[in-house]
Every structure is written in C-alpha cells, then in structure tokens.
Symmetry: C2
Subunit: 333 residues, 2 copies
C-alpha cells in the first residue's frame, strides 16, 4: 500500500495546473527518479484512476509531434493540502489576503485564490451553524488612497517567469515599439511593481514599471550575464529613492502630543526608544530614538501634521521647516 498510495500522492504533486501539462512519460521518468520503478502502463492507469476523483483534464493531441497524452489540473479546481488549515490559520490567511487586495494588483493576487477559497471554506464550515459568520466580524482598514495601477495578468506572469529563469523577453513598453529586455530584479514599492532590466545591448540598468509592459513574449535566449549587478547595491545608490543618497543612522528627537505618545508606546520607533514628559501642562512629550533616515521616515513625519515637531537632528528639522514654510506661504494667498 505504502508504495502505491505514496506514488499517487507524488503524482498529484507533479501534475501542474492547466496552462501547463505533463505527459505520462515525463511522470514515469520522474517517478523513476524518485525511486518508484513502475511500468509506464501503471502510470497511465493511475492517471485514469486519479482523473475520476480529481478534476484532471487531458490535453488534446494538439501538440507538435508529441502524440503522448498530457495531463493537467483543471484551471479552477480547488487545491488540496494537508494538514488542513485550522481555524486560526484560516482566519489569518483570510485577513492577510484581504490586506493584500489593497497592496498587490489583483492580477497578481489571482494566483492566491485557491488558498483564499480553502480558508473561506474552512471558516464557513466552522461557522455554518453559528448565527454570525466571520465575515460579519472582521474588517481590514484600507491603507491606500490611490487606485492600484492596472496590470496585465498574462504579462506579469510571463515577466515573472523570465526573471526566474533568467531569460530574455520581448515586449512593448508604454505602448512604444517592441523591445528586447533582459530582466535582473524586481522591486515592489507600495502597490507598484518595478522591473530592473537592460534593453537590447545597452549597459545601463533601467527601472521599468511592470504595468507599462504589454504584449510580452518569452524568448528562449538567456539574459546577458551581469555579475556586477547586485540589487542591494543598486538600491543603495539611491536609485528609486529607495533610501536617501546617504542613508545614515540619525538620533531622532521629536516632540509629540498625548495621542501620538500613546501610539508610540505600543508601536515604538525603535527597540531602544526613549519617552519622557516634556511639559505636563500641555500634554507634550519627548521621544528619542536611533533610526535610519529615509524617505519613509520623512513621509511619516509629514503625515502626522501638527501632532509632531522634529527637534533633532538639525538637518531634519531644517528640512521639515522648509517644507512647512513653503506650504504655509502657498496657503496664505
């Protein structure tokens, strides 16, 4: 039994989803590799058996030369996993995906749909008898003001594949003519995905937004090797405003109000954050923390409006002052 059941399991794992297919002979070879030396006939029989219990489909003999029948999981058949999700995991998955819905393009997220289905099924099963389901109990606060850029699902899939397999691809960018592109890295900022790549034989690395690609076609050519390229080094040069040109640890000192102080007590700026009373009458407090200066920090400081006042370092205070001054002048008119 051990042999046959385990073999079936391994086969199920090896069968991909619909756009891809696997032939009975490929499976036979893989099983042989894994130590299951069975005859090809058995594999064929197993596939037929499995297909009566799982949503397997077999490809039409539309291939070129390859007359072998190929198999795949039906596109939207639910997936199975074990150990099954427990209630807590299901809730976590469900919340996480709700979160991601506002963070990643839906065309990317569709790949996670099976898990969402599994989680929701599990939650429904748990709560079907209860009068109130989890959907009426859980909410995730939206984090973003802007709409997500529209991405072409197929394009994203192909570009991911090119990146993973170190292959060139061919696409139009911003609706312009076709280009040959060598992908080197992928960076996600907010809801936007950026591809770091080179065009044709050019030497310079370009930052391209994934949603601007269209008509992507994978090429069989491998990318030009680029051993000097290191994504961290590249980002740290200040490209993409990833960090300030000179990212440095600063000793931040802020004056904050009561509300922000409470907030910081629970979500500190750093592990060694210091919080002291500044002026009890006015309910103002001082916060000190060592942290990395950067774009994120500055946006955060700005977003707090008058809840916060930067005291040190001087450079940051001056920067805040200049921004605020410019704004004030504008709104005075």
């Amino acid at each position: 039994m051990a042999d046959s059941s385990l073999r079936l399991l391994l086969m199920l794992q090896q069968i991909p989803r619909e756009p891809r297919y696997v032939s009975s002979q490929q499976l036979h070879a893989r099983l042989a590799d894994a130590g299951y030396s069975v005859s090809l006939r058995t594999v064929q029989r197993d596939l037929v058996k499995l297909s009566s219990h799982f949503p397997l489909i077999q490809s039409e003999p539309s291939g070129q030369g390859n007359t072998g029948v190929s198999w795949a999981f039906s596109q939207h058949g639910q997936h199975m996993a074990f150990p099954g999700m427990d209630a807590v995991t299901a809730l976590t998955v469900s919340m996480a995906l709700e979160h991601l819905q506002s963070l990643l393009p839906p065309q990317v997220l569709q790949h996670l749909e099976p898990w969402q289905l599994e989680a929701e099924e599990r939650l429904q099963k748990l709560n079907s008898s209860k009068y109130q389901s989890w959907m009426d109990k859980v909410r995730v606060s939206p984090q973003h003001v802007l709409q997500a850029p529209q991405v072409d699902a197929e394009a994203v899939g192909l570009i991911y594949e090119a990146l993973l397999e170190n292959r060139q691809f061919c696409a139009t960018y911003k609706g312009k003519s076709e280009r040959v592109i060598h992908p080197y890295g992928l960076v996600q900022q907010g809801r936007t995905l950026y591809l770091l790549c080179r065009f044709y034989d050019f030497e310079d690395v370009r930052i391209t937004a994934l949603h601007r690609f269209e008509k992507v076609e994978l090429l069989d050519e491998p990318i030009r090797p680029f051993p000097a390229f290191n994504i961290d080094d590249y980002l740290n040069t200040g490209a993409m405003q990833w960090a300030l040109p000179d990212p440095k640890l600063i000793s931040l000192e802020l004056r904050v109000n009561q509300w922000l102080k409470n907030h910081l007590e629970e979500s500190p700026l750093s592990e060694q954050q210091l919080l002291v009373i500044d002026d009890e009458q006015q309910e103002s407090y001082l916060v000190k923390a060592e942290m990395l200066d950067g774009r994120q920090l500055r946006r955060w400081l700005l977003s707090l409006g008058s809840d916060v006042e930067v005291i040190a370092p001087k450079g940051l205070r001056d920067w805040m002052a200049s921004i605020v001054k410019a704004q004030a002048d504008r709104y005075l008119e």
Copy 2:
C-alpha cells in the same frame, strides 16, 4: 485502490497540527460520515503506516481518562499540497509574505510559515542550477516606520478561536486583573489588531488592542448574543476614526507638480480622475476627482508635503492651511 488511497488522503487532511490532536476513534467516526465504512482497526493501521512516511506524532497517554492514542502533525513539518505551486505562484506567495511581514505581527504570520517554506523550496528547486537565485532579485520596500506591537502568539490564537466560535474568554488587559470578555469583532488598522468586545455584563462595546491581552483562557460559555451589533454600522459611527464622523463624497481638486502628476497617471485617485495642465512654465498640474473624505486621504495629503496644494473643497483647504500654519509657527521659533 481508489477507496484506500482516497481514504488515506482524507485522513491526512483531518489530522491537525501539533497543539491539537485527533484520536483514532474520532477519525473513524469522521471517515464513516464521509462514507468510508472501515473498521477501527484499519484506521489504526493506516495511522501507523502514514506515520512512517509523514511527520506524525502520537500523544502520550497524558490525557484525562481518554486512553485512546491521539495523533497530530509535527509542528514544523512541511505541509503538502497539490497541485504543486508553479513558479509564478511561488514568487507571488513569497512576495506577498514579505509584504505581510511588515503588516502583520510575526506571531500571527507564523501560521503562514508552511506556505512560505513551500514557496521558497519551489523557487530554490527552480533556480538551484542558475547562478543567481530569486532572493537576490526581489526586494519589497518597507512601508512602515514604526515597529509592530509585540503580540503574544498564544493569546492571539485563543482570541481568534473565541471570536470564531462565539465563546467567552478570560484574560488580563493591560496587565490589570482578569476579566471575562465577550468578543464580537476584529478590526485591523495598519499593523494593529483591535478586538471589539464587551466586558462581563456591561452593555457598551469596547475597543481593545489585541497586543494588550495576556493570560488568555478560553471559556466554554457562549458569548451573550448581541443581535443589534453590526460591525459596519459600528465603524461608521466614527468609532476608531475609521471614517470621519460624516463620511462624504467630496470633489477634490489639487495642484500637483510634475512628479506627482506622473504618479497619479498610473495610480489614479479614482476611476474618473481628471488631469489638466495648470501652468506649463512651472510644471504644475490640476487634478480633479470625486472621492471619500477621511483620515486616510488627509494623511496622504499631508505626507506629500509641498508636492501638493489642496484647492477644493474649501473645508479641506482650510484644514490643510490650519495644520500647515500651526506647524510653520512652531518651526519659526
């Protein structure tokens, strides 16, 4: 074969992870429900067989009265799923989880670890032969300045369970004495999880941060029913600053610079956003869009600093002006 292999699969799905156990007799009953009428002996034999191929562990007979042997998946044994992840899905899962790492408390995320492992394994398998793995190719920009609040993993798990099963629980809040709590809803804002609940017999709904709970203990008592409670209604009253007290659609009009204009072209404020040139010389543009006013929008406007100027509606412009004025006064000293 069909019978036995499918039965084994169903068994694997029914076996939970380590903190929970299932006895051979429970399994026997569940299988009988599912239409597999086999003897208990067979179930026991199957479990032994499975345990030689999967990381199953059996509980010590430490239970009370229940001498039956119970089984569970070992805590950190990888999980299996089929159809297996394809490359694109694996990359998506991996990026999504990296994202979530900065969004959800690690203690909550640990439930998703199996998927992360599966995805990374898959990616490694794909790229082991290549000179550069995906880890060196993909980066996710951090979104948060603050550290996540520290959450007790066990507490979160138990509270989730209580919420899902409509049960009371008992816990200390903010280190104070023990309370009996009736959970009604869960809200996630940023990286903080809030529980909407009532204490003891009190009638008022309280907003409690999950990370402030300690020593949680599930009770068998069901929560007091609360048919009048509706999470959306509650949030829309303005509680938790979820929305402004009077959330209304406004006709937003902004003056933006070149950089922000480019950004908005790709990530618009709304579907029907209007973008026109304001002053070609100074590279300033006007944006108009109908959208919901709220906390998110205002924080976003503030975070942009002098890249943006609010023109309409008047109320919002005045609000911006007052904040900016207050800040400017402060920094003048």
